[in-house]
């Protein structure tokens, strides 16, 4: 038995557990955060399933027989199947937005004849790819299962699906939406995870930098120097921002390579290339995504600087900054799974209000060429950043930068009585 181990361990636990910042940051926040994340994911799954049940399927029927009518009725039992009076798939595509549809089923002229003869018939399924998230394939899967059930009722393998996707209004024949979704899954996860790492890491750098100045009392020295106090704040933010900017650039480079390296097999066995499909951002898209990430980083760093001003030392600064993590974790996990557009209005407002949702929304939007969403997000986050930076500058202009500390009991802010 190690001599003195038990006594020392007891002291260590007392010291750590009696620090309210550690208690809150390490135990209470995770205990609350993970159930919240679970609820978000659960809600996402439900909303995706509900949205799949509400799927509108446009039917382009070239068959005049009774079996195709029966097939449409069958589809209608689980999804909303709308027959459209156009002759080609190209004519049907513009109607997708009119009916808010996500699938087109093209029934060939020989459908009834083949079904009656129990001969295989190829039905074309066109799924719209909107870059919504990793649950996007649910609508397409539902149609698949309906076809299988129909076959069980009629004859095995009578109706054979021939799958294609519609991306940005363009029909890409022979591209299996499931293969595509699997490929895009990596993208749907990459941005939120990378953003989480980048933001938490950068905030820790900024918070540590300010807390170190306080702990080493170098801040007291520089506050008495003949210099503008706003310069101190800007110097701190710029230093952390440059590091974060380099990280963002490295991230953009890595992501570009990561996405470009992904290929998959189409149903015809051909190679599926995301670049060729137009499912990687354009140069302009990358630029916007970089700006979106950058302003989000800047606001996170300014928040970290403010939080660390209320800390007495490096350890408490890191704990205080960790209270902000739910602001990154919740939108990251939520938007990884669900399409923000299918959420209830109030939840959409909550997610849009969190500045750190916007780089994730932007990462999907730039792939789909929806630049307006990205620009509006950047404007919102930039405005938020300006407010935070103004608050930080006010803090640096007064003695609060030295005296303020957060009293966790009741979360009341109070002034620190000085020792001397």
């Amino acid at each position: 038995m190690l001599k003195g181990f038990g006594n020392f361990l007891l002291k260590e636990l007392k010291e750590l557990m009696r620090d309210p910042k550690i208690l809150l940051g390490m135990i209470i926040i995770p205990v609350i955060m993970f159930p919240v994340l679970g609820a978000v994911i659960n809600f996402s799954m439900q909303s995706a399933q509900e949205s799949a049940a509400k799927t509108v399927v446009l039917i382009l029927n070239h068959d005049t027989g009774g079996n195709s009518t029966e097939f449409i009725v069958y589809l209608n039992s689980s999804v909303r199947a709308l027959e459209v009076n156009v002759s080609t798939i190209d004519d049907a595509v513009p109607l997708l937005s009119t009916y808010n549809a996500s699938e087109i089923v093209e029934i060939p002229a020989n459908f009834s004849q083949n079904v009656a003869a129990k001969k295989a018939v190829y039905v074309k399924f066109y799924s719209v790819y909107s870059g919504a998230g990793i649950l996007e394939g649910i609508g397409s899967s539902l149609v698949d299962s309906l076809v299988q059930q129909f076959n069980r009722n009629v004859a095995p393998d009578v109706v054979l699906p021939e799958k294609s996707v519609i991306i940005k209004g363009k029909v890409l024949e022979g591209v299996d939406p499931r293969v595509l979704s699997t490929l895009m899954l990596s993208q749907a996860i990459a941005m939120p995870i990378t953003m989480l790492i980048l933001l938490t890491y950068s905030m820790q750098i900024a918070a540590t930098s300010v807390a170190m100045e306080k702990e080493e009392k170098t801040l007291e020295t520089v506050l008495t120097l003949p210099m503008d106090r706003f310069s101190i704040l800007m110097g701190k933010l710029s230093g952390s921002t440059i590091i974060a900017g380099v990280s963002a650039a490295a991230y953009m480079f890595g992501l570009n390579y990561y996405l470009g390296s992904f290929t998959g097999l189409t149903s015809a066995g051909a190679s599926l290339d995301l670049v060729a499909l137009g499912l990687v951002p354009s140069l302009f898209g990358y630029l916007l995504l970089g700006v979106s990430l950058f302003v989000a980083l800047l606001s996170a760093l300014a928040l970290a600087v403010i939080m660390s001003a209320f800390a007495e030392n490096v350890r408490s600064a890191q704990s205080l900054v960790s209270y902000l993590y739910p602001l990154f974790f919740v939108p990251s996990f939520a938007l990884m799974y669900l399409d923000i557009n299918v959420l209830p209005f109030w939840l959409r407002i909550v997610l849009y209000a969190i500045p750190y949702s916007h780089p994730i929304i932007a990462s999907k939007a730039v792939v789909m060429g929806d630049y307006l969403t990205v620009v509006l997000g950047i404007a919102y986050v930039a405005a938020f950043t300006l407010v935070i930076m103004y608050l930080a500058s006010r803090l640096f202009a007064t003695e609060k930068i030295l005296t303020a500390k957060l009293k966790l009991r009741g979360l009341r802010k109070r002034e620190k009585p000085l020792a001397e």
Binding site: E216, K217, T218, E220, T221, L223, T224, L225, P226, M227, E399, L402, T403, R414, E415, K416, P417, L418, A419, E420
Partner: protein, 252 residues
């Protein structure tokens, strides 16, 4: 007594009038009145919690007085804080340099707030190097320095730019006998040679007795005695300032 003129032609370097500082329920300073003559070494002495650091922080424009006024060479620390910062340097208690900068880089960084002229910059840093006496170790990162070396570096930083007023909070706190002696000699020599005014704090009363021309004794935010060390000893019939303080606050 001959009084040297201060930097701005005034003979009073610091003038505090009824200075009060309150933190929440704590009255850290309770009506402080004192003045510091230009060119002298003035000591604020007292036990922990007496209000020494708070007073020095107000002089250095870090804290605002709750009431009362404090002027540095005629400049109000609230109204003219930026101008006050032009004429002072401040050494916080137990402050350190930036650990990942070398001593030389730290001195250069600090000197650049005073001058942009390269020759002048070189001269200031060279002078600081002489004051601190760290020699070749100035090329090493500050995190490799001992506590005494760091303190010598910081004292040199506070004096190298020839400030009109150097505010030194516990300049020898935590140092061994030799380093304390070295720092005290630096301060004494520099004030004598450059005519810099120094306001320092210490709870080491024997040290202050040796270093300061005049002192105020603080206890619980109030001045309990003021004068030259010798005068105070004679007045209270004590062998040293420690005894004076004990008598004043009723311990002896």
């Amino acid at each position: 007594m001959f009084r040297r003129k201060g930097a701005l032609g005034l003979s009073v370097a610091v003038e505090a009038a009824s200075v009060v500082k309150v933190f929440g329920n704590i009255r850290a300073l309770d009506g402080l009145d004192f003045s510091v003559h230009a060119g002298e070494i003035f000591g604020l002495i007292g036990p922990n919690g007496a209000g020494k650091t708070t007073a020095l922080r107000i002089i250095s424009t870090l804290l605002l007085p709750t009431s009362g006024s404090l002027k540095v060479f005629g400049l109000d620390v609230v109204q003219s804080a930026a101008e006050v910062r032009e004429v002072i340097t401040y050494l916080p208690e137990e402050a350190g340099p930036y650990p990942n900068l070398s001593g030389w880089e730290y001195l250069e960084f600090m000197a650049k707030f005073t001058t942009k002229n390269k020759d002048e910059l070189g001269r200031i840093v060279k002078e600081a190097a002489e004051i601190c006496g760290l020699g070749e170790r100035l090329k090493d990162r500050a995190k490799t320095y001992s506590k005494g070396m760091k303190r010598r570096l910081l004292v040199a930083r506070a004096l190298m730019t020839k400030p009109k007023l150097a505010v030194l909070d516990e300049p020898t706190s935590g140092l061994d006998v030799l380093h304390s002696y070295h720092v005290r000699e630096i301060i004494k020599r520099y004030v004598r040679e450059r005519g810099v005014t120094v306001v320092l704090s210490s709870h080491n009363m024997l040290e202050v007795e040796h270093l300061c021309e005049r002192v105020v004794l603080l206890n619980k935010g109030k001045i309990v005695a003021e004068g030259k060390p010798q005068q105070l000893k004679e007045k209270f019939g004590s062998a040293n300032l420690e005894e004076v303080f004990a008598k004043v606050v009723g311990f002896a």
